[in-house]
Subunit: 190 residues, 2 copies
């Protein structure tokens, strides 16, 4: 598969085949790829926690916001929840590059997950204080991003957004998730 | 090439074969990949400027900081400068996810560049005010990241950083650039 195709197939997945679980060695491979990502001044300040344990996942799940535009959908139900989370920890005292570093690494994670046949969802909306309490990271570190991982249990389709049209993703009556993306010509300003 | 291998080979390149230039259609392909990156709430707020014109590149170059740890090296000399820059523009009024979005997109850019046989360098250190003046982006948008692109003119080698050892990249007497990376086992906290 070429990389462009991989980027096109790497869609955000919010429903998973939870019972299938996840192979921890695949998760390790994904983190190995992320560890090779470039970062500001090569400081490598990000750290990773993995949450695979069922009880721990059940504690983490309610802290997450899943899909702002699907107003009647509270998030994946039991059986469709992610069998794994990767939490990206960053220094609590951020520098101007911290979130960029985390984004680069998260991009590497979701592409690596897709290359391994998995789906992923980068979750940026959660209560950082409560997440910190739950995960108890080392002093000076805080959870910045949570990435849900697992075998996808939903189909996600890209579609072209019209200029000025809605960018809200939506789910059709058959459960297919649609994501309007602006054409690249609308994104390039020269 | 599998994705892990691509991640390992995607090293930051700071010297380029400037005279070779760059194929604009390759740059477009890279931006198409970036346009498919996930982003917070699918808002797609990032925009891209490409700078290929020689005069424009000469104006942009002095605004950039190249390699903090190579204290005697002011950056690439004429002939080794990038034949192309991609500037990622973001809303001047950032939200908490802006820099993460930019990081994800930048990760897609550097991986896509490497997949196309090019080298890249994400530059985060520049005077945003002066860059804004030079590029004159649309109202409400500001340059957030600059990515230099071109055919690599240097060899970059990963090496394993010792625990507590230096993370500063360095260049040997033969001009090979060495980058100490922490082993993934040092990055995972569970």
């Amino acid at each position: 598969m070429d990389l462009y195709e991989l980027c096109a197939l790497t869609r955000t997945v919010r429903r998973f085949r939870e019972a299938l679980g996840i192979d921890p060695s695949v998760v390790l491979g994904i983190l190995e790829a992320a560890s090779l990502a470039p970062c500001a001044a090569n400081l490598q300040e990000l750290r990773y926690m993995t949450v695979l344990d069922e009880r721990r996942r059940a504690e983490l799940f309610p802290l997450l916001s899943w899909a702002g535009y699907l107003r009647d959908w509270p998030g994946p139900s039991a059986g469709e929840r992610p069998p794994c989370y990767i939490v990206i920890l960053a220094p609590t005292e951020e520098n101007p590059f911290t979130r960029t570093d985390a984004g680069i690494a998260a991009g590497y994670v979701v592409l690596s997950a897709r290359a391994a046949g998995l789906g992923a969802c980068i979750l940026m909306g959660f209560d950082r204080g409560r997440m910190r309490e739950l995960l108890d990271p080392p002093d000076g570190m805080s959870p910045l991003l949570v990435i849900a991982l697992g075998e996808p249990a939903e189909e996600v389709r890209l579609e072209t957004a019209g200029r000025g049209g809605s960018l809200e993703y939506w789910r059709d009556t058959e459960g297919v998730h649609h994501v309007p993306k602006l054409p690249v010509s609308d994104l390039i300003i020269n």
